[in-house]
Amino acid sequence: MPLVKNGAVVEDRFTRVLDDAAIVDDVPVIMPAARLLADVGDLAGRRGATGVLWPNDRDISQLAPHLDRLALVALDFPNFRDGRAYSQARILRERYNYRGELRATGQVLRDQFLLLHRAGFDSFEVSKPADASAFAETIARYSVVYQPADAGTPAALRRRNASSKAGARVHLREHDA
């Protein structure tokens, strides 16, 4: 499955480890949520980066205390119509200020790229190779959006009404710069 990061197809430096497989100290790994929570004490001294695969039916607030030790959080779309991970993504970005890599995994398709990106995802395990190569073009498809949700990319946004009301709080309608 191709991995898209910063708009381009890249090599995945992370390895997924199953529940009981051994973890090599200096290899970047993505581990299951249960194992992360169980072994959290042992992870402090690792040299390799640590990531977690968090299921979409587990309360994301359980992850909050461990975020500063994580280089990557992968959120799951068991099928693309199951949108729970969109909420988890925004909560991680906006409530817990998580700034590490936020990866969409599972059934990740072209027609959801823009929503995923706007919800705060910045890397994508894309289901179809043709979709992966169309990534940059797809997320540029809209030049306007209504909601102020794009936690990951606030700097890229310009406020439609900013000039008319400095300090005003509602900016429903924003243009991408």
Binding site: R81, D111, R141, Q147, P148, A149, K165, A168, L172
Partner: protein, 552 residues
């Protein structure tokens, strides 16, 4: 009217381009039907029994004459010369080809119309009072809030793949014409003790297989908090709403299973985190949205001008129509006129291209180029000078939309049923047509007073049968069409679900049974002006049941 600016136009145009690309990828096989389905649904495209159906959004039921002409053009060019107005202030075209759809959408976009989010598991077209901005009993124009919510929910990055569809309705009047208590979120704009206006927030109402009247979780929410609070509700629902069973996926089931109090507490906890963030609404923002609504420049006119009263006294047919279809307006000297799309023997809510064009021209001449769509599947000319009513009436008569049956027994709400819908158990349009023939005598109808009949062709309840004063639900029994009848439902501020009358009856007997129910009411009411729904409330369904089933 809400007037699009460049921003809104750009978004709709970009959506058309995206959809064109999606259709091309579907036709080339790059997208599977499973992957394409939610995408087409979110553009209003359904696969029905015989063809694709396109549902066009008419936000808060407001249309310009130019937009209505565009709808007429689409009916003529791409469909079979008519369109169908639904119970959710949308318009449906029933016979569109998939390969034509991108062009249809491009034509719609030119007039500021689209099918976005009229289907799919997302926040649907927000509905409100069809008399928004003109009703004398409203505290302010609810359409401004409907537009704010429309913008907020359009292509929302978090709430586009919810467990199930999500419907929001708003009222700002004493009398609820938007059925807010039977929506996923119902909002009632009202004033608190201190004279400030804010929203009562009702959640978890809805019809369908498991009907519920919604519960109030916030009696008074300040306006500034509307978006953050709605976002909190949606976030709780998106995470905890059931996804294992399509019949249990609506928010009403979550609210029911958690209990309204616990659900409200979860929402509050979520809301505390976001209420002072980017979604808090300030006055400048409200003013910005409000400024894009255009209001007519009314003339300074008197009520009841002689041009009106003279014709009323000498033409009793006009007077009958006036008393039935004309309603008081906020502005002195003006009136709200309802156009009945329920002539005897016709499918409820259909309008031909010719009628749409003619109504658009009448709107230009007599209603500041504006038309409204009512959830009862009628149209409305919202700003007619009272002195123009007699000449307008003559024109409306000519095109067949002046049947004085608004709110009466033949003003039936019916879903498309087996004539179009692939989910249907039974026909519903032919039942409605037969009933309009049985009750064609207008004198009798008036004598019966306000009486709403609602018909659904299956348990999905698109005809809102649970909240009809008389509800008719089509069910299948051993391959035959049967109908369950409920009495006493209502969708207004006293919302209630109807009670079952008795065993289901076969297709051939429905109209007879309804006639018997109505005859029983005439016998049972304690005075001529006791409405049907009040009689049922007072004595229950038993006396009706005895009379109706005794003979069978």
């Amino acid at each position: 009217m809400y007037v699009y600016d460049d921003f809104d136009r750009t978004l709709v145009d970009e959506r058309v381009n995206e959809f064109r690309d999606q259709v091309a990828r579907r036709l080339s096989g790059e997208l599977t039907e499973d992957e394409f389905k939610p995408l087409r649904l979110m553009n209003g495209v359904y696969l029905q029994l015989h063809a694709y159906m396109l549902r066009v959004a008419i936000p808060y039921g407001t249309l310009s004459s130019e937009q209505l002409r565009t709808l007429a053009h689409i009916a003529r060019r791409y469909d079979r010369d008519y369109g169908h107005f639904t119970t959710r202030q949308n318009l449906q075209f029933n016979w569109i080809k998939l390969s034509d759809l991108p062009d249809v959408m491009a034509d719609l976009a030119k007039a500021g119309l689209h099918g976005m989010q009229t289907s799919g598991n997302c926040v649907r077209n927000v509905t409100t009072d069809q008399w928004g901005g003109v009703a004398p009993d409203e505290i302010e124009d609810p359409r401004i809030w409907a537009e704010i919510l429309r913008q907020h929910s359009t292509m929302h990055p978090e709430f586009t793949y919810l467990p199930r569809k999500f419907k929001i309705a708003i009222t700002a009047a004493a009398h609820d014409r938007a059925a807010v208590r039977v929506h996923d979120i119902g909002l009632r704009l009202h004033k608190n003790g201190a004279g400030e206006s804010g929203f009562e927030v009702v959640v978890g109402g809805g019809l369908g297989r498991t009907p519920f009247v919604g519960k109030t979780i916030k009696p008074f929410l300040p306006k500034r908090d509307l978006l953050s609070y709605v976002e909190a509700i949606l976030r709780v629902y998106n995470q905890y709403g059931r996804r294992d069973n399509i019949y249990k996926a609506r928010i009403k089931i979550l609210v029911h299973e958690m209990g309204a109090e616990k659900f409200g507490a979860e929402v509050d906890a979520e809301w505390q985190n976001i209420k002072d963030g980017a979604l808090a609404i300030d006055l400048a923002f409200i003013a910005d949205i409000a400024s894009r609504f255009r209001y007519p420049k009314y003339e300074n006119l008197a009520n009841e001008p002689p041009a009106l009263t003279q014709v009323r006294s000498r033409n009793s047919r006009f007077d009958t129509w006036f008393r039935n279809s004309v309603t008081p307006h906020k502005q002195r000297g003006y009136a709200i006129v309802t156009l009945s799309l329920k002539p005897e023997g016709a499918p409820p809510g259909d309008a031909t291209s010719e009628q749409m064009d003619a109504i658009a021209s009448l709107a230009d001449r007599y209603s500041f180029s504006e038309i409204r769509v009512a959830h009862e599947q009628n149209l409305v000319l919202p700003h007619v000078a009272q002195r123009d009513l007699p000449v307008l009436w003559e024109q409306l008569e000519k095109i067949g939309v002046a049947t004085p049956n608004v709110g009466l027994v033949s003003d039936i709400i019916a879903c498309p049923g087996l004539d179009y819908c692939s989910l249907a158990n039974t026909r519903s349009i032919p039942v409605a047509q037969e009933l309009t023939r049985r009750f064609k005598n207008l004198g009798t109808q008036r004598e019966l007073g306000r009486l709403h009949i609602n018909i659904s062709g299956c348990i999905n309840a698109c005809g809102h049968h649970h909240v009809g004063h008389i509800g008719i639900l089509g069910v299948e029994k051993n391959g035959q069409e049967f109908f369950q009848i409920t009495l006493g439902g209502r969708a207004d501020e006293k919302a209630e679900l109807g009670c079952l009358l008795g065993p289901a009856v076969p297709y051939a007997e429905v109209a007879d049974v309804i006639e018997d129910v109505v005859a029983a009411y005439v016998e049972l009411r304690d005075q001529p002006n006791e409405l049907f729904v009040d009689t049922v409330k007072r004595i229950g369904v038993e006396p009706f049941k005895e009379r109706v089933y005794a003979a069978r």
